[in-house]
Symmetry: D2
């Protein structure tokens, strides 16, 4: 199966990702990337990209990476640190598996602005349900 | 100033909250509530309310509570634990200040489904910029 | 079985807690308290109570609360926010279950200094192994 | 100034690290490593390396990395995910700056057992006080 198809298939099933304009752009074993173009609908009360929008983008990359092995994995929890405000442009999240065992896996997701400056760092853990992700 | 007006004013300025259908419903000193009615646009790839949507609702309650003292406060980071999946109905997030100092404050936000069962727990920290929030 | 005995039995088995001078002081269903008297051995490089010592105290209260139902529960992850430095005196951690399901439970632990001011907030999640904790 | 001296100087000032047997072994700009040899005093109630001991080792590497630029930095909060139990041997924590701004910096710390398997992942944020760390 073609990897880029995997990524668009993964995005299309995720109605919230579609609603807020996030797409998975790359999906490999234990790795994924997602992107979002900041628009007015992503802004918070002070005109910056909303923490919830940034989190949701990171969460999508995390979900894609953690389900990349075609085993169903559900998020247990996640942490995000916001380092730099983002006001516009294309935002990219890159998720990478950091550690795993039979039942759990932890991913670190770095969020970059259009200048490729890291703006936020996300860490999430999934519980592997053991079934088939597709 | 009228407190319920505060809450709707706070929601209206937050374009991402409006876009995804979250509203602040109560806003007091160090405390706030926000709500969201789960629709198809909030679902993830397996038909549950999306982690990013739940996070964004909690984040809105957190933002309202942490800016309730009319001092600008920006989120530094946040953690969320997902305990029970939510599939439909009204979801409510309740944010309460847990500890603070001159520069920082931490809030715990509990997310309840329509049956008032706690489904997720969020903890967020803000940096107080010292200016005026409005 | 006597509840105060439970608490001291729980402490005595935890060699790291004993080594650093932390004790469980109360243990009920879904709730526990632990205490530590700050000494020179708990200080960091700038003379304050060490973040690792505060975390370890919170972690002990969390472990006691999450194993209070005599079902083995293992920590998956935890977050701590430090709000106020502690330099001396008795520190107390209070752990309370916030949400749970069949496999997971999340606890919020508040850490108080001797003046009962909240100084740190901890949130931890356990995986329930289903066996018997004792 | 000699880098290895920096690391041992940093350890020696941290009385809690000394008390529990953790040492900084390497310290560069935005990077540090720390080690601990697991003994009986590091065990929890079920004979595994205690979550508080693992956290404290990660926290030491984080403190060393975040103070490596000789600017005082204080921890605001941290998250740790435990992936694999550790029972014995030398444990190593590696801290790396992930993102930073004028006031804040976030570090990801990976904790390895003696076989160099990643066993835990830690993410911590500091507030830069602007003064001189030494």
């Amino acid at each position: 199966m073609d990897e880029s198809n995997d990524a668009s298939w993964f995005t299309s099933r995720d109605l919230f990702a579609v609603h807020i304009g996030c797409s998975v752009t790359r999906m490999e074993e234990g790795y994924a990337e997602a992107e979002m173009e900041i628009g007015q609908q992503h802004k918070n009360g002070v005109g910056l990209a909303h923490g919830g929008a940034i989190y949701s983008l990171a969460d999508l990359a995390f979900a894609a990476a953690s389900n990349s092995r075609r085993e169903t994995a559900v998020a247990i929890n996640a942490t995000i640190s916001y380092m730099r405000p983002i006001t516009s442009g294309r935002v990219r999240a890159e998720a990478r598996e950091s550690a795993s065992n039979r039942k759990l896996a932890t991913y670190v997701v770095t969020i970059y602005d259009e200048q490729e400056t890291p703006c936020a760092v996300f860490q999430g853990t999934v519980f592997k349900k053991g079934g088939n992700a597709s």
